[in-house]
């Protein structure tokens, strides 16, 4: 454990000494040097502990939670999301599925569970972030293959495409403003083309990710919320239809790619 901390500190110091390059190469170098030493390992451990921890009025663990491959099956479950669940009769992303399990299996209050899904800067990270990080790691190396067999799953993709190109707000921004062209960057930050297979696979396959600049693991739900903040839109809600639709759009465009999360990001 100590080794990780020490290695991370060394690399953080090294990163600060690197002159600003006019591309994303410095972060690629950082990632290479880190190798398997992603600080997200601590969050993965925490997520696993939380999965097996009895919680709520029912004092139940999440082992009875069905992530689509049967109750308690976690290996390879994340790469099939977003997907339709007959018990809830809706398409869910991993975050909304976890909320469903916390309320139905553990008997926890929906408003309490939903109150603070994503940590603020300086926080230690939330239960949701830890669980998602562990479950993504349980799919590491697996092929991205979201379900698109149910009509509701296909409708969710169509909705996601509509929202992706929907321009609104004082700046007229849509997701497409930044993410429909290849090899572009905003300031120094490289922008994935999420309409392409390669861009979507790189992006979808690398979240959740440890954000070096924030010292936290962030989920794709958080990533979307922060994109909309920068789009000057109101705040996107975790587990909302727009969040699930956009994740479906990305995951389906990414299908066939490899899940490499948890990633390591600027």
């Amino acid at each position: 454990m100590k080794r990780h901390h020490f290695g991370f500190t060394l690399f953080a110091v090294w990163l600060c000494s690197v002159p600003l390059a006019a591309d994303d190469g410095v972060f690629d170098q950082y990632r290479d040097l880190m190798g398997d030493d992603n600080p997200a390992v601590f969050v993965i451990d925490e997520g696993e502990e939380l999965w097996f921890a009895p919680q709520g009025p029912e004092s139940a663990t999440l082992e009875a939670c069905d992530l689509g491959l049967g109750p308690g099956v976690t290996a390879g479950a994340y790469v099939r999301f977003p997907r339709y669940f007959a018990d809830a009769d809706v398409v869910m992303d991993l975050e909304s599925r976890l909320v469903y399990c916390m309320t139905t299996i553990q008997g926890r209050d929906l408003d309490v569970v939903n109150a603070k899904p994503y940590s603020l800067r300086g926080d230690f990270g939330t239960e949701m972030e830890a669980l998602v990080t562990w479950l993504a790691a349980e799919s590491e190396g697996a092929t991205i293959a979201p379900e698109q067999t149910h009509a509701a799953e296909r409708a969710m993709y169509t909705l996601g495409e509509e929202i992706f190109f929907y321009r609104a707000g004082p700046h007229d921004f849509s997701c497409a403003t930044c993410h429909e062209q290849s090899d572009m960057r905003i300031r120094l930050q490289a922008l994935p083309d999420l309409t392409s297979h390669s861009g979507a696979a790189e992006a979808w396959g690398s979240w959740p990710a440890y954000r070096i600049s924030q010292g936290l693991v962030r989920t794709m739900g958080w990533r979307l919320r922060d994109c909309f903040r920068q789009q000057r839109w109101p705040e996107l809600q975790m587990g909302s239809e727009v969040s699930i639709a956009l994740q479906t759009y990305m995951a389906v465009n990414a299908a066939g790619g490899t899940m490499t999360a948890p990633g390591l990001k600027r």
């Binding site: 600003l20 390059a21 006019a22 169509t158 909705l159 495409e161 509509e162 929202i163 992706f164 190109f165 929907y166 321009r167 609104a168 707000g169 004082p170 700046h171 007229d172 921004f173 849509s174 403003t177 930044c178 429909e180 062209q181 090899d183 572009m184 960057r185 905003i186 300031r187 120094l188 922008l191 309409t195 909309f228 903040r229 920068q230 000057r232 839109w233 109101p234 705040e235 996107l236 809600q237 909302s240 239809e241 727009v242 969040s243 639709a245």
Partner: protein, 202 residues
């Protein structure tokens, strides 16, 4: 396909575009998925005619007559500086160009908005942290300061859709993102021969 094209034309005429889904259906989804936060209020999810026309998923057929009409409307709506003065202070313009804040839920509404030009454009050659979504504007001042050039540049900043409908660039004047004085300062940053934009890299 014919029926689809006709349907889109009718929808555009009413300024409530729906490409593959009903517009009111999408708006209901948006209302249920977002909550107002600070200055980012829910009315920001409603689209005007330009936003609707420019929300087409790639590959969707467009009504070129409608787009031409809309672009002409934008051109007619441009407000040129009433005092006829286009050029402000390039040093203040540099601040506007580098400032990415303004109108986000996380921004202080009492502070001036930025233009965030560097997010998408290269400007002064010494600034390496520039984006590439828009064309490089380094050396823009070489285009001169003729009345036509001043009007063209002002219009581009005021409402980019007047020339290039569905450009990714925000409408800095028409949407009230920047003040008239801020626009003049950015004009000077682009066009003043003394501006770093028009100096060789050191």
């Amino acid at each position: 396909m014919k029926a689809l094209v006709t349907g889109i034309t009718i929808a555009l005429a009413a300024s409530v575009t729906a490409w593959t889904m009903a517009s009111d259906e999408i708006e209901a989804v948006l209302r249920n998925s977002f909550v107002a936060k600070n200055q980012a209020t829910m009315d920001r999810l409603e689209r005007d005619a330009v936003q609707s026309a420019c929300s087409a998923p790639r590959g969707m057929p467009l009504d070129n007559d409608m787009l031409t009409t809309l672009r002409a409307e934008r051109l007619n709506s441009v407000v040129l500086p009433p005092d006829g003065q286009y050029l402000g202070d390039w040093q203040r313009g540099a601040e506007v160009a580098g400032n990415g804040r303004g109108l986000q839920s996380s921004d202080d509404p009492t502070q001036p908005n930025g233009g965030n030009c560097y997010a998408c454009h290269q400007l002064a050659p010494d600034e390496v942290a520039y984006g590439t979504l828009g064309p490089s504007l380094t050396g823009y001042g070489a285009r001169g300061q003729s009345e036509a050039m001043l009007q063209y540049t002002w219009t581009k900043l005021w409402d980019t859709h007047a020339y290039n409908l569905c450009s990714h660039m925000p409408r800095f004047g028409a949407q009230g993102i920047l003040t008239e004085q801020q626009l003049k300062d950015v004009m000077a940053y682009l066009l003043d021969p003394a501006s770093p934009v028009n100096q060789a890299a050191e």
